[in-house]
Symmetry: C2
Subunit: 269 residues, 2 copies
C-alpha cells in the first residue's frame, strides 16, 4: 500500500520540491508481523533530519498510524518520504510550506530476507564522497552519489560497496553504516562531514555500550578496516551483517557480529 498525505495513491504532484530539488528526507523501516521495528528511533531521526532542513515534521502519532496502515501484515519494508511539498519554480522556500508525506510498503530485499547469509561480500567503490557539513548525517533525498556508487558493480554476489571521502577516510557503505572491531574495541566513522547517520548505527552504538565495549567515533582509514578483527555493516532493513570478504581480503568470524546483532534488536529504554 502507498499513502500520499494519508490517502491511498500512486502519484505525487509534479511540482513537489522533493522531485524538483530533492528537498526532503526519508527513512526505510523494517516491518515484522505488520509492526514497524525501531519506531521511536526512526521518528527521532526523522524529526532531527527535518529540523536540519528547516522542514516541519509531521506529528508522531499520525505518522505512526500511516506507517502501520501501509505496513499491512507480514514481512516488508516501509519507506517514509517527507518533502517540502509543492511550490512555485525557484529555490526559495514556498510562502506557505506544507510537508508532503509518502508512506510506501515494499517487499523485503533478498539480502535481508530470512534465508540471507549473515556474512556478506563487499567491495571498495572508486567514487569519493564530497564533504558537506550542512548535509552530513542527514538522510536527505539528494542521493546521486549513492546511485553512482551503486552503479559501479552489477555482480549480485556483492551486497555492498564501501565509500571513502575525498581525503581518503572511510565513511560507510552505499546503503549501510560501517563499524569494525579491533582488540575488543568498536570503531565507526565520524559522520560530521559526509555520510548518513542511520538508526541501526545509533542502536549498534547504544547496544555496544550496554555490553561494555569501548566505542571510538573518528577518522578511519582503509588500513584500519583491513587490520580489523571483524568488519560489520548495518542498516534498518538487514540489521548487522559481518563482512566476510572485501574485494580480495577475507575474514573468518571473530564472533562479534552475532552478539552485537542481538543487542541491536533489544529495546531496553
Amino acid at each position: 500500500m502507498i499513502l500520499v498525505n494519508g490517502q491511498q495513491a500512486s502519484t505525487v504532484d509534479v511540482l513537489d520540491r522533493g522531485l524538483a530539488y530533492g528537498d526532503g528526507v526519508f527513512r526505510t523501516l523494517r516491518v515484522q508481523d505488520g509492526v514497524p521495528l525501531w519506531w521511536r528511533d526512526h521518528y527521532a531521526k526523522l524529526a532531527a533530519d527535518c529540523a536540519a532542513l528547516l522542514l516541519a515534521c509531521p506529528d508522531e502519532a499520525g505518522l505512526h498510524a500511516e506507517v502501520c496502515r501501509a505496513a499491512e501484515a507480514g514481512e516488508a519494508v516501509v519507506k517514509i518520504v517527507l518533502t517540502r511539498g509543492s511550490g512555485a519554480r525557484g529555490y526559495a522556500f514556498p510562502d506557505a510550506q506544507s510537508t508532503s508525506r509518502i508512506v510506501a510498503r515494499a517487499p523485503l530485499p533478498a539480502y535481508a530476507s530470512a534465508g540471507a547469509p549473515d556474512a556478506i561480500t563487499a567491495r571498495w567503490c572508486t567514487l569519493r564522497l564530497a564533504r558537506q557539513p550542512h548535509l552530513a548525517g542527514i538522510k536527505h533525498l539528494n542521493r546521486l552519489e549513492n546511485v553512482l556508487a551503486r552503479a559501479e558493480w552489477t555482480d549480485p554476489a556483492i551486497v555492498e560497496g564501501l565509500l571513502r571521502d575525498d581525503l581518503g577516510a572511510v565513511i560507510g557503505g552505499v546503503m549501510s553504516n560501517l563499524a569494525i572491531m579491533s582488540d575488543g574495541n568498536l570503531f565507526t566513522p565520524d559522520l560530521a562531514e559526509c555520510g548518513v547517520a542511520g538508526v541501526a548505527r545509533t542502536r549498534l552504538l547504544r547496544g555496544a555500550a550496554r555490553l561494555g565495549i569501548p566505542i571510538h567515533i573518528g577518522r578511519l582509514l582503509p588500513d584500519a578496516i583491513l587490520a580489523a578483527d571483524e568488519v560489520m555493516i548495518c542498516n534498518s532493513v538487514m540489521g548487522l551483517r559481518r563482512v566476510a570478504r572485501l574485494d580480495d581480503v577475507t575474514w573468518p568470524s571473530a564472533g562479534w557480529t552475532a552478539s552485537l546483532n542481538t543487542v541491536l534488536y533489544e529495546d531496553v529504554d
Copy 2:
C-alpha cells in the same frame, strides 16, 4: 501546460527515482512569443548531463515538440526534468530503465520580466559548496545546497547569493553563473569540482570570444570579485545582469554588461 511523458498531467509516479534520489537532470528555458530560446544549446547540455549520469536522453525532435507545446504562447519559462523513471526501492539502476520526461510551463519570474532593472543586488552566502568532481557542472536534481543557500535571505531586493566552495573559491550564484571583467579580460570560475555550467555561461563565453575579449577560466577568490571593473551574473531566464551591489560594496557600470548581453542572444552558428 504540464506534459508528463508527452501527456497532459499534473502528477508523476510516486516511485519515480527523481523523487526518491534526485536521480535526474533539468533545464530551465526562456520562452519568447511561444518560442523556446537557445534550444540547440539547451538540448546539447541536456544530452551531456544525461550522459554524465548514464541516463538515456530523449531524442531532440520529440522533446522540442513537447517543449513548444508546453510553451503555448507569450513570455514564459519552460522547465524540462528528465529522471531515471520508476524503479523498485534501492540505489541500483532498474533492470529496464526508461527516462521520464516532465515539461512544464511557468510564469516568467519578476527578476527576469521586461521591467526588471538590468543591475541587481547580490550578497555572499555563508554555505560553502562541497566539491564533487563526479557531479560538478551537471544540472542534476540534487539541489539541497542551492535550497539551503537561498534560504539564507528573504529580502526581495536581493536577487542573488554568491557561493564559494569549502576552500574559499567563488563558484557562482545560487541560480546563476558568475563572470567578471577586469582590465578588459573576462574571468569566470572553473566548474570542474562544483557548480552548474549553465547554457547562458556557455553562450557568454562564445559571445565574448567573438568580441575578441580574452577569457580566463580558473580559480577566482573573493578579492578578485571585489577588485573587478564589472561583476555579472547570467542564466537562461534573465540573460546577463550587472551586479551593482554585493553586500556593502557597490559598482558603477563599466559598460560591459550591456554589450555582452547583446551577444548572448546572437545565434551566429
